[in-house]
């Protein structure tokens, strides 16, 4: 028998609407309400300025290790903007912009970055999972959440975030496969920021795109310019709509770039060139979006400065507020809480023993 070709009819699309110079493809321009556009801009600017402030705090020794988001704001905001509060957000650990959009307080981020579990508490009105550090392992939880919503005949969806490195993990492949098999309402958002700490995308995969991996699992995959918030927004709107109406999962690859270090414990100069970072700085999502809003007449230079000064005050208030809140934290016995619904006897004993030791030695909790 001769070899035959099996035709795979699906294609991977690439979507870009607002190029790096801020030029718009009018035909593809998504219809987004003015209030949403302005909220996206404000959140993007806030996330950017807050990220810079967090880095300063860390360098001053006023905060612990964290993962900066600079450069990835559009990928996060263009996707998260489509979720309702009852939808599920399943983050990795570099999604501060999406977190802020969902209503997470700046204070809570500072508190978490200072090593207090209190900072990652999720309020009852948001269906957001807490930060997940082991790369890719959270992806499957989104499948379970989406499946459960479907089981309960709710049209809620689950959106999960991960990076290019996570696409090498088994959990990424298992997650996509399960989601497709069960047609779970899940949006897989890959922030392809080109670097998994020191390992470049070229060493992570031989695939031309990450989006194409979706095809192997029988779901749509799309690659978008992840620094173009309009493209991200348009692609995510389609994916969320499909998931909500029973059309199953989608993989969105947002091509973006991590302009800063992996975490503050890392020195990217060891593995990548300044020229590369310089090149990507030109594709920064923020000025491009601002140019679009200016061209559209939704923003003015004055208004932008006004928003920025508002934001700087908000950030300062959050830093002050968080530092004040943290003075009241630090009771070491807190670490025993939330182990189980009901504390087993031996844990009660361990907690009581520690309490006694602490009071005998006259030491109080370290306030970090």
């Amino acid at each position: 028998m001769p070899r035959k070709k099996i035709t795979i009819s699906e294609k991977v699309e690439y979507l870009s609407i607002l190029n790096e110079k801020g030029q718009l493809d009018k035909e593809l321009e998504p219809d987004i309400g003015e209030d949403v556009l302005l909220k996206l801009h404000r959140t993007m600017l806030l996330a950017r300025k807050f990220d810079e402030r967090l880095l300063n705090l860390q360098r001053q020794g006023r905060s612990g290790t964290f993962a900066p988001i600079k450069g990835q704001e559009a990928a996060q905001l263009g996707t998260i903007a489509h979720l309702r509060p009852s939808d599920w957000m399943v983050p990795a650990f570099r999604e501060a912009a999406a977190d802020i959009w969902r209503g997470r307080s700046l204070e809570s981020i500072i508190i978490y970055n200072n090593g207090f579990g209190e900072g990652v508490a999720i309020p009852k009105d948001r269906n957001d999972l807490p930060i997940s550090v082991p790369v890719g392992s959270q992806i499957i939880h989104a499948v379970g959440l989406g499946w459960a919503a479907k089981y309960r005949q709710k049209d809620d969806v689950a959106m999960t975030y991960f990076g290019d490195g996570a696409t090498s993990q088994g959990d990424f492949h298992e997650g996509l496969n399960f989601a497709a098999v069960f047609q779970a309402p899940v949006i897989f958002v890959c922030q392809n920021n080109h670097w998994a700490i020191s390992v470049p995308l070229s060493k992570q995969t031989r695939s031309k795109t990450l989006a194409q991996k979706a095809l192997a699992y029988g779901m749509p995959g799309i690659q978008v310019d992840g620094n173009d918030i309009l493209a991200v927004y348009a692609a995510a709107r389609e994916a969320v709509q499909r998931a909500r109406t029973g059309g199953g999962p989608t993989l969105i690859e947002c091509v973006t770039y991590r302009l800063m270090m992996h975490t503050t414990a890392d020195d990217p100069k060891r593995y990548r060139s300044d020229e590369e970072v310089e090149e990507w700085s030109k594709r920064d999502p923020l000025p491009r979006f601002q140019k679009y809003l200016l061209d559209k007449g939704l923003l003015s230079e004055e208004k932008m400065l006004e928003v920025e000064s508002e934001i700087m005050e908000e950030i300062q208030a959050a830093v002050d507020g968080a530092e004040k809140q943290m003075e009241a934290l630090g009771d070491p016995l807190d670490m025993f809480d939330h182990a189980y619904a009901e504390m087993p006897p031996y844990l009660n004993e361990q907690k009581a023993d520690l309490a006694r030791e602490l009071s005998e030695s006259g030491k109080e909790g370290d306030h970090g």
């Binding site: 399943v90 392992s137 496969n177």
Partner: protein, 327 residues
């Protein structure tokens, strides 16, 4: 009351709990149409449909990860890992997430899932099908580790596990699955998780075991009574973690002599923790060094040698007589 094997009793528990509560869903490899390779989920798909009994693709990490998501949503997934020897591919989902989401979210979310999986030797199976690695899960704060020893307590504990608000690893002994029948009442019966059971009262020596090892332990206790005139007190742990030592301590205060029996490897096994707690809480009541009868610290041999590997009635007797002889 009907006489049932452990397989049938577990099936009854699942059926009754699914009938009672539509948040209970079952997922795993071959659990639907095939009814599970040991038939524990037999018939559930017919009774409850393929939207509640999911034949999943073959991927342990995703079975557990998906269960975590389902549980966080507020349902009660009961997933099956076909053999506990394959549960290392989902180890990180249990250690990194199932055990921690309550803590990480500061109580906003919890993971009321059950992971059922067959464990242990004695059925002449292939490599990876006979280990007893409960210590892994018992060592992870946030998980519960339950091992029934017979049909009746298996049924009662599985219902408790499903209703438990925290993740429960539920080990089912393959050697016990069809080994014997017990009366299992049709009416609901539950046993608390975290409470060992006093199976037989006695004043000469305390024998502590669980799971498949309860049978050789009971045989040894009977022989001690018949041949040596020894009254052994026998305790079935049922829950490995959270371990409640109270009943063990009370027993040791009475007998002063202890043997701990499990098929898990000896070093760092559950026996080590039990012995340590007894040293802490009942040292001055001990009249002899505590003996452990356990699997050896080697890879579980293939089935031709498994009988020698597994604690036998003879080994248990030898150890218990040694403890009894100590002055």
């Amino acid at each position: 009351m009907a006489k049932m094997t452990m397989v049938q009793a577990l099936n009854l528990a699942l059926q009754q709990e699914m009938k009672k509560d539509d948040s209970v869903v079952v997922l795993g490899e071959d659990v639907g149409v095939d009814g599970g390779v040991f038939r524990v989920t037999d018939g559930l798909i017919n009774q409850f449909g393929d939207q509640r009994v999911l034949d999943t693709p073959l991927a342990e990490s995703a079975i557990v990860g998906m269960s975590i998501g389902i549980a966080v949503y507020g349902l009660k997934p009961v997933c099956e890992i076909q053999f506990s020897g394959f549960s290392y591919q989902n180890f990180h989902q249990l250690e990194n997430h199932a055990a921690r989401l309550r803590w990480r979210s500061r109580g906003r979310f919890h993971v009321p899932m059950v992971l059922r999986t067959p464990y242990g030797g004695g059925v002449r199976a292939l490599e990876h099908h006979s280990e007893s690695r409960e210590a892994y899960w018992a060592h992870t704060p946030g998980l519960k580790m339950v091992i029934p020893s017979g049909p009746r307590n298996a049924r009662a504990l599985l219902i408790s596990a499903i209703r438990d608000p925290d993740p429960v690893i539920f080990y089912e002994s393959k050697a016990v699955y069809r080994a014997f029948r017990e009366e299992v009442p049709e009416a609901e019966e539950i046993l608390p998780i975290g409470k060992p059971q006093l199976i037989q009262e006695g004043s000469d020596v305390t024998m502590i075991s669980y799971g498949a090892m309860m049978r050789p332990t009971m045989e040894a206790a009977a022989e001690l009574k018949n041949k040596d005139g020894i009254e052994a007190e026998v305790i079935d742990l049922l829950t490995i973690s959270p371990l409640d030592e109270e009943i063990l301590v009370q027993s040791v205060k009475k007998t002063g002599r202890v043997v701990v029996i499990h098929e898990a490897p000896r070093s760092f096994g559950p026996g080590a923790e039990i012995v340590a707690r007894l040293m802490e809480k009942a040292f001055y009541h001990l009249e002899a060094p505590i003996e452990r009868v356990a699997g050896f610290d080697i890879i579980m041999p293939l089935f031709n040698r498994e009988k020698v590997y597994l604690p036998s009635t003879e080994r248990i007797l030898r150890a218990t007589r040694k403890v009894l002889a100590a002055k």
